[in-house]
Amino acid sequence: MARYLLSKLFEAALAIWGVVTIVFFVSRVLGDPTVLLLPMGASQQDIDTLRAALGLDRPILEQYGIALLSMLRGDFGISFQHTRPALDVVLERMPATGMLAGTALFFGTLIGAVAGAIAALRRGTISEFVVMTAALLGQATPVFWLGIMLILFFSVQLGWLPTGGSGSLAHLILPGLTLSVFVSASIARLLRSSLLDIMREDYVRTARAKGLMPRTVFFWHIARNALIPVVTMIGIIAGELLGGSVVIETVFAWPGVGRVIMQAIQAQDFPVIQAGVALVAVIFVVTNLLVDLLYGVLDPRIRQR
């Protein structure tokens, strides 16, 4: 187990280094942030002075070396736009993102799992048709449009909930709901097809022939196996949501990490881009690790390897 974790950790470090390196060079090739930081009409001399102050006038490999060494110490530099440590700028947005992602993941998985199971068990009935149509609609509806519609109905028409922002549970309901719709739709569709596949397996028929209770067959033999692809999917969605949902954060003025990274990209604020990308990479690596460990719990054959 220790060896397994160690090799995973090594892979993770390699992945993060790779991402950070690519982003470092690509962002610097694409543009010069000084032209965006300075006011209209700044002269070439102003541009040069600021470039020197930000250390952007040094050879790119030297900049890369300095950046990499600082990153090892957890220092991503001072944000060009925010003029304070880039890591703080990103990390202070994490609680909001975590809260939204957690809500969407919890309710999305719960609703998606129940809906997917109903659709598989009630195959060919009207309930399967209703569930699957709803799931298809949920997946196909642009979150942007859904978000605006919910705001107009619940906030402007009824006046029940705030239109956006954060600070209380009431603020969390609409963005959480919008995001849950998307999550549950994906999970319901995947779980249904996965369940249907497993139900056709020989060992399921054997279990039924043994005279096991239908409930035992479902939970012990079918569901456990059917969950493997679903867990993978949840892992991917969790990684995506924790990296910030730019569209939802924008529509609901939610102060999450997605918006701050997006803004940094637009402003070519290199330190924040790097801190943000490194953070997202860490999140993906950790969720993947958790998914790997969960496989072992679900399937003893994976555990023994």
Binding site: L30, D32, M40, T83, S168, F252, V260, Q266
Partner: protein, 501 residues
């Protein structure tokens, strides 16, 4: 049954208790202003963004001079100011002004602030505004003298965007994320990316502000801003799409309107790229575009067509004698035929996306009207950062670039200088125009300057130095409990607002 009922009631009660009642209606002593972009930094010397950072900070830090809603300068910390000779300014400060920590807001503090932005080691983003300042002297406690290396008639205007930090405090604190008020408000709560709440400063040396609490909320999405206004959560929003104005007024929950901003929209010509060096072609393009039609169709009549110049009437140096090129596609075709230009060659029109109010729609109209007179045009949509890099760094602008230009001092010097040879923004390279601007800058006599800028604008019009379009409307929506005088620059300030009765 009973059990289920009890559970439901319990859950309902819990939900209500957890959610609480969202603060939908506002207290009388509170005003809420929606910002389009989040406040990035609290250091007023590290940002040039009037519409967000500086507007919020102007409640906390005092300025020598303020620009009022009528776009005229008003005394703030400076009681009066005068140009004693072409390169010397004197500012007389109010006495008794101080920061909340007791630090004096005197001539020495003003000097320290002007020295700070001019210090290369600080890397102040607004250093360019004070490039011409050569020396600052505190004559006595309430008199500051500013020397400039050459005449700088717009210095007072520029100072209206310059906020003052407490020098002693700044030695031991980081102004990027802390504040020490010297103005009417103090920061009560700051949730980056969400909102900043300000409370009236009990130690303020000036008159007590109208509102006890001011909340700036960041709402990046336009439809969500309108929703927040109509739900009564915010009192002022900006950047309303022109076509929404009528609908907001019809629905009646709030009011909306537009006035001309100081931002002029234009098609910037890259005279260095063929065929834009051809005068007749440039004039033909100006004849080919139905400016009035764009103002009516896209902006619902809320935009004013440019009078063949980059300046709106609000600018010093505006030339009242110029008239726009009329919409005359036949004349355009004639000129194109005379120009001898190969009409089949591709002409690229660039537009930075999501930057200007309905800029993409306007660009569509321009492209189709240029096609109607026989030009082979194609549109390139480009991200704003990449656009600025292309313009200033790579110096490789497309033949036509649709963009908006404004100069915060509202003076021809500055706005027109962006088209002077040698300026990083210039793609025209007209020596005669450059010479006129140099002459304008060397003079401090307003009448003489006006005459010089009249010549410069006339020259640019005749030479069709750009495709002159319209002044971008400053659109806004306001709640019915507040009055606020709409303005053409980007300042949004609670101290310009009053409660309606």
């Amino acid at each position: 049954m009973n059990g289920i009922f009890r559970t439901t009631v319990f859950m309902g009660a819990t939900a209500v208790a957890l959610i609480g009642s969202p603060a939908l209606s506002q207290e009388n002593d509170t005003v809420t202003i929606a910002l389009r972009v989040a406040v990035n930094t609290l250091d007023p010397h590290m940002t040039a963004s009037v519409g967000s950072d500086l507007s919020v900070l102007s409640h906390i830090y005092p300025a020598l001079i303020l620009r009022g809603p009528d776009l005229k300068l008003q005394p703030a910390l400076a009681e009066s100011w005068e140009m004693t000779d072409p390169t010397t300014w004197r500012f007389k400060l109010k006495s008794g002004a101080h920061f909340a920590n007791g630090e004096k807001l005197d001539a020495a503090a003003v000097k320290w602030n002007l020295d700070r932005v001019r210090d290369d080691a600080v890397g102040a983003r607004i250093a360019a505004w004070f490039e011409l300042v050569s020396e600052v002297t505190a004559i006595d406690e309430t008199t500051v003298e500013v020397k400039t290396s050459s005449p700088y008639p717009a210095l007072a205007d520029q100072l209206s965007m310059f906020l003052l930090l407490p020098p002693e405090w700044a030695k031991t604190h980081n102004p990027a994320n802390e504040t020490m008020s010297g103005g009417p408000y103090v920061v009560k709560e700051n949730v980056p990316g969400d909102h900043i709440t300000l409370a009236a400063n009990p130690d303020y040396w000036g008159p007590k502000p109208e509102f006890e609490t001011v909340i700036f909320r960041t709402i990046p999405e336009s439809a969500a801003r309108t929703a927040a206004l109509e739900a009564g959560e915010v009192d002022l929003i900006t950047g309303v799409p022109a076509t929404e104005i009528k609908r907001i007024n019809e629905r009646g929950a709030a009011e909306a309107g537009a006035i001309d901003s100081i931002r002029m929209m234009l098609g910037k010509f890259n005279h260095q790229k063929a065929p834009m060096e051809n005068l007749k072609l440039r004039q033909a393009i100006n004849y080919a575009i139905d400016k009035e039609g764009i103002a009516q169709a896209i902006f619902d009549g809320n935009a004013t067509v440019a009078n063949c110049q980059l300046l709106t009437p609000a600018y010093f140096g505006y030339n009242p004698d110029l008239k726009p090129y009329p919409y005359d596609p036949e004349k355009a075709q004639e000129l194109l035929a005379e120009s001898g230009v190969d009409l089949s060659q591709p002409i690229e029109i660039e537009i930075p996306v999501g930057t200007y109010l309905q800029g993409e729609e306007v660009t569509q109209v321009i492209a189709s009207q240029l096609q109607e007179v026989g030009l082979n045009v194609k549109i390139t949509e480009i991200e704003f950062g990449a656009f600025m890099n292309k313009q200033l760094k790579a110096r490789d602008l497309a033949q036509i670039a649709v963009q908006g230009l404004a100069w915060p001092t509202i003076d021809a010097d500055g706005m027109l200088t962006m088209f002077a040879p040698g300026n990083v923004y210039d793609y025209w390279n007209n020596a005669e125009f450059g010479a006129l601007l140099d002459k304008g800058r060397a003079s401090v006599d307003p009448e003489e300057r006006k005459k010089i800028y009249a010549d410069a604008t006339k020259l640019m019009c005749e030479e069709a130095g750009a495709l002159f379009l319209y002044a971008q409307p400053a659109t806004y929506g306001i709640s019915k409990r507040i009055s606020w005088q709409s303005r053409g620059d980007d300042w949004v300030r609670a101290f310009d607002m009053t409660l309606r009765n």
